[in-house]
């Protein structure tokens, strides 16, 4: 390659890496996508240790080009360790350089954020060297490569921050000695140790690491005291209780201290809302007096089937909670008129109109196909020429006219079917369906942004509640959570029996105890299956199969019980981060301190799902840090 790289070989490259932060000389490349390389000196007997460096190249410079890459320099941010590869540089050099280079020696620590998508390197001062955003996949592979060249461990202050042990430092030496003393197959390199453990995943690594955990801890502390001199953290660190954890099973191992969640409580489901409880809440005008207590009862136990028809109309926002019986009667008739008007619109299309309106014809055909395969195993929809299928079809067609931008998306017939079965009234069912769709319309986004966001949120929640399992999934290429897609798209409709679906949905419709409660149900199920997934060492394929086969086997009451338990664990936990708070619609900590936070309180308080982008939800590390600092201040100082 380039002259300067004659003695170097590349050991790693990853494309789709966006430069998020960099020294001012690179300001023009901020937010530019490029490729990241690791270069290493070739075998050289004169030099006992290999030199290595990281290089980031913007994409407009082609990788193969021999001409353009002449201009490069090592970024030396630490003055006391001047080690450039090309000697002294002319003063104007930074103005001309294209590629960002970092010597391994200059990296003092790095921080992983954004679900391993973002990697920030620090040089030991308060400034970062650069911050990179991995648009394809994540930085995990890079980190595991770094692991083979550098010795580092997680910071105690921040589990996402990894501190590099200096080769001259006593910590490094002692760490080597310690590992050698452990006699892991006569190998004393940290990398080999991790590799061995990987081959004998769980129990093996737990046992092995229990020997070293304490040591690593002390070592990190000592290192960090120097690293974070300005931070008066020692007091707070000593207060955190002594539960340490080892993550294993993947490409690299994390030895870290997990903050404890409060003990999980049991929330057995109660009896459903009875007809008596329901009736006595209406005043003389037919207005519900205490809506909150009704909703609480429904959340705890669902609704007695005999009053479901009536209650669902409230839950699905067809009848306003504060309406009088007269208003509801009026609502029924005007809404019915509106429905039949919209129905007439598509009913009166001529054949020619349809032929000239391919968008419409396509939707019509898709609905026809799906209606004929929706819940046909249930008596209500069984048999040929079943009138209920016609009604199902007509409601979906009218919904196309009601919301032509969305039209019909697979999964919608699943959501509609139980409503029609219960209500058995065309226009009422339509309006209840509209209410239901409003609650999860983002599931049907054309670009699937809503689903991707939910899957990402599910992972975020899981990582907080069960980091072991989340780490397992991540190291098994399952962090995309696609195996939960069906759960979330139709709110577990395909997983539960019809009666359970009705109970489950009415509980979720209350919006209690927080928004996105269904994601906590997902976490509860995953947690229940963790043993099966991890002990069998399942990969993506097997996990997908396992999850698909849970269909019909889930104990819905137990899952709601656990999910509610998880919610209170989160709510009462003192280290709950803002991104979790945002997902659940809890007040954000950062808002209490800073008025101009990027997330508006309205969006989280909104009744429907927040419609922000995935990136938006994954709160930036800065705010995470702010939260952390705040909690340190309030809790310990």
């Amino acid at each position: 390659m380039e002259d300067e790289f004659d003695d170097y070989q590349d050991v790693f490259s990853q494309d789709g890496v966006l430069l998020r932060q960099a020294p001012s000389a690179y300001i023009q490349y901020i937010n530019t996508i490029g490729t990241l390389y690791i270069w290493e000196t070739l075998e050289n007997e004169a030099c006992h240790s290999k030199k290595r460096l990281l290089e980031w190249k913007p994409n407009d410079v082609t990788v193969d080009s021999d001409v353009q890459d002449q201009e490069w320099a090592v970024v030396n941010t630490v003055q006391k360790r001047v080690r450039t590869l090309s000697g002294n540089l002319p003063p104007d050099y930074y103005a001309r350089l294209k590629n960002l280079k970092i010597n391994f020696e200059d990296i003092k620590s790095f921080r992983i954020a954004n679900k391993s998508r973002q990697l920030t390197f620090f040089d030991g001062t308060s400034d970062s060297i650069c911050s990179l955003l991995f648009q394809h996949g994540n930085c995990e592979v890079l980190v595991s490569i770094l692991r083979s060249f550098l010795k580092f461990g997680p910071s105690r202050r921040d589990k996402h921050l990894f501190v590099i042990y200096d080769a001259d430092s006593p910590e490094y030496q002692e760490l080597n000695k310690t590992f050698a003393a452990l006699d892991f197959k006569n190998e004393n390199s940290l990398w080999t140790l991790f590799k061995n453990i990987k081959e004998h995943p769980y129990e093996g690594s737990l046992e092995a690491f229990s020997k070293v955990t304490n040591y690593v801890y002390r070592s990190v502390d000592a290192n960090e005291a120097e690293f974070l001199q300005q931070d008066d953290l020692n007091r707070s660190l000593s207060e955190i209780d002594d539960s340490s954890t080892v993550h294993s099973g993947g490409d690299y191992e994390l030895v870290q201290k997990l903050p404890q969640l409060p003990k999980r409580k049991d929330f057995p489901r109660c009896r459903p809302l009875t007809e008596e409880q329901w009736r006595e809440q209406f005043n003389y005008e037919g207005r519900l007096e205490d809506v909150e207590s009704i909703k609480t009862l429904i959340f705890r136990g669902g609704v007695t089937p005999s009053i479901r028809k009536e209650v669902w109309k409230f839950l699905l926002d067809y009848h306003p909670w504060n309406s009088t019986s007269a208003e509801r009667q009026k609502c029924n008739s005007t809404k019915s008129e509106e429905y039949y008007l919209m129905k007439l619109q598509w009913k009166s299309f001529t054949k020619t109109q349809e032929d000239n309106f391919s968008d419409f014809a396509q939707r019509k055909s898709l609905i026809d196909k799906d209606v004929n395969r929706t819940d046909r195993n249930l008596d209500f929809y069984a048999g040929d020429n079943n009138f209920n299928l016609t009604t199902l079809n007509d409601i979906l067609m009218t919904y196309v006219m009601y919301n032509f931008d969305l039209g019909y998306v697979q999964g919608m017939s699943d959501l509609l079917s139980p409503l029609l079965m219960l209500l058995e009234h065309e226009s009422d069912t339509f309006w209840c369906f509209v209410g239901f769709m409003n609650k999860l319309i983002s599931n049907f986004d054309i670009d699937q942004a809503g689903m991707k966001e939910q899957l990402a949120n599910l992972y975020t929640l899981l990582a907080f509640i069960d980091p072991f399992l989340a780490n397992y999934l991540e190291t098994h290429e399952c962090a995309n959570m696609f195996f939960c897609f069906r759960w979330l798209l139709v709110w577990f409709k395909r997983e539960l029996k019809q009666d359970d679906v009705m109970r489950f949905w009415e509980v979720l419709w209350t919006g209690y105890p927080c928004q996105n409660f269904h994601l906590l149900v997902g976490v509860a199920i995953l947690e229940q299956e963790r043993g099966a997934l991890m002990e069998n060492n399942y990969g993506f394929t097997e996990i997908l199969k396992h999850i698909n086969e849970l269909n019909g086997k889930l104990d819905m009451s137990l899952m709601l019980n656990k999910a509610e338990g998880i919610f209170y664990q989160l709510k009462e936990s003192d280290h709950l981060t803002d991104n979790i708070r945002f997902i659940l619609g809890l007040p954000l900590l950062s808002q209490q301190t800073s008025a101009n936070h990027s997330i508006s309180p309205d969006s989280s308080a909104n009744h429907s799902q927040p419609r922000c982008s995935v990136d938006h939800v994954r709160i930036s590390p800065e705010s995470d840090e702010a939260v952390y600092d705040r909690s340190i201040t309030t809790n310990f100082l």
Partner: protein
Amino acid sequence: MASNKKVLLKVIILGDSSVGKTSLMNQYVNRKFSNQYKATIGADFLTKEVTIDDRTVTMQIWDTAGQERFQSLGVAFYRGADCCVLVFDVTAPNTFKSLDSWRDEFLIQAAPREPDNFPFVLLGNKVDLEPRAISAKRAQQWCQAKNNMPYFETSAKEGLNVEQAFLAIAKNALAQQNQSVDLYNEFPDQIKLTNTQKSNGGGDSCAC
């Protein structure tokens, strides 16, 4: 890389909604047909052991959702595929028209090393139904233009030609696997430090 011992052939079935992807898979694996299959949400797969030229291979047949907007999830499922089965409904002309985009989309998302030589098989399903909209000749012509893609006319309902079609699918997939060591672009060798899980799973770990 192709393993010497157990051979696993990953086959992806693609095509418009309601052309019979789930039915074909179930007819082949379980020899069953039902009118009650629901629209597929997400993805699922079935496996079947077959013997080809005295070799026992396991076919892992993936069934995916047919609606266009769910395609962006494909990348997670297509990865490492050995053969792609395109299906259309011989009575529904639109399902034939979409074949090109299904093929293109697959090649983009699965990113095999040699897209031109990647094995595809075309199935014209529902031949038990009338009236027919796409003739065998027309389908064959399309196949000829696509590197002589094998074509079978099937009826998942009556089990017609299904066995033969999947046998051809298996053979094509196997031939491809034997021919080229790996179908997919790998990272540089050094990456193997990380002991990647899947033998031929190049590409990203996330589709978002």
